[in-house]
Symmetry: C2
Subunit: 145 residues, 2 copies
DNA sequence: TATTGTTATACTCTATAACTATA
DNA sequence: TATAGTTATAGAGTATAACAATA
């Protein structure tokens, strides 16, 4: 029946809340910036993997991003339909699909990278370059621990 | 057909990825720490709102947390069934439910707060107190901007 | 037998729409 | 008419299970 609880913390000033809502806000900004290119931030994650220079199977893309291989199927279906990636069986192991960016996919990735960088800069503008660099290092350390 | 893309960024070293996975990791740690108390991090969010000293309607809790009022119903159903909160009509406006922590709810909140603080300390231990404080300030600023 | 991609299915989370009771 | 709570429903997102092709 009591409403007394010791030490009631401000619900908005808790690390879990801050992390979650920073993620939500940044994802929303990124999705909006990428929308004119016909992709969202999840697609962009896959494009970043594919934009590296090794031939990559669907499974490798999925594992790099930490998502299930069945989820990757639907994601690539869309990108293939939009002409951004191609799939073809790996001649060396025909169970695998080699996934590659098309020329249009490379242009889309380049445009997306530019849009992403602008979004990130705008998002981080409120704290200045030192705090931004510190934020990146801190998050990296926390994820490695 | 090309796999050449200018400036392929490491998919794991991008602010969106870092924020998302820091959130996922911290939420998983918090959920695990709260699990013995029969609540998760979302429940704990509601408890933090209720542990403040004002009488609070369901709608106020939902709006404080930024979730829909229909989602709040199911969340409070569970907490009420567990004897952590009570609901009763507000005498001054019988459309509203006043939600309060029970005595058991206050004890649960106190134990959860302790468990949460231990989790947060352990999570932040890898970066030291200065970087932890800086992280909190930076996230707060980014959310206010 | 194990692995890759696929499909069908189920589960979680959350929001929208419609209903009730109160104002 | 508008608001608070509730219920039913639908949508997004993602995972599990089962299957075909290949190793």
């Amino acid at each position: 029946m009591s409403t007394e609880a010791s030490d009631a913390a401000d619900p908005h000033d808790v690390l879990g809340y801050l992390l979650k809502h920073a993620t939500l806000k940044f994802t929303a900004l990124t999705d909006a910036a990428l929308e004119p290119l016909g992709i969202d931030s999840k697609d962009f994650g896959a494009l970043r993997v594919l934009a590296r220079h090794e031939p990559t199977s669907q499974l490798q893309v999925a594992q790099t991003l930490g998502i299930d291989r069945t989820t990757m199927v639907a994601l690539l279906d869309v990108l293939e339909r939009e002409g951004i990636v191609t799939r073809r069986p790996d001649p060396a192991d025909r169970r695998r699909n080699v996934v590659e960016l098309t020329d249009h996919g490379v242009r889309t990735y380049d445009a997306a990278q530019t849009a992403y960088e602008e979004t990130e800069s705008a998002f981080l503008a409120a704290v200045g370059p030192d705090a931004a660099g510190q934020l990146r290092r801190t998050l990296r350390t926390l994820l490695e621990a």
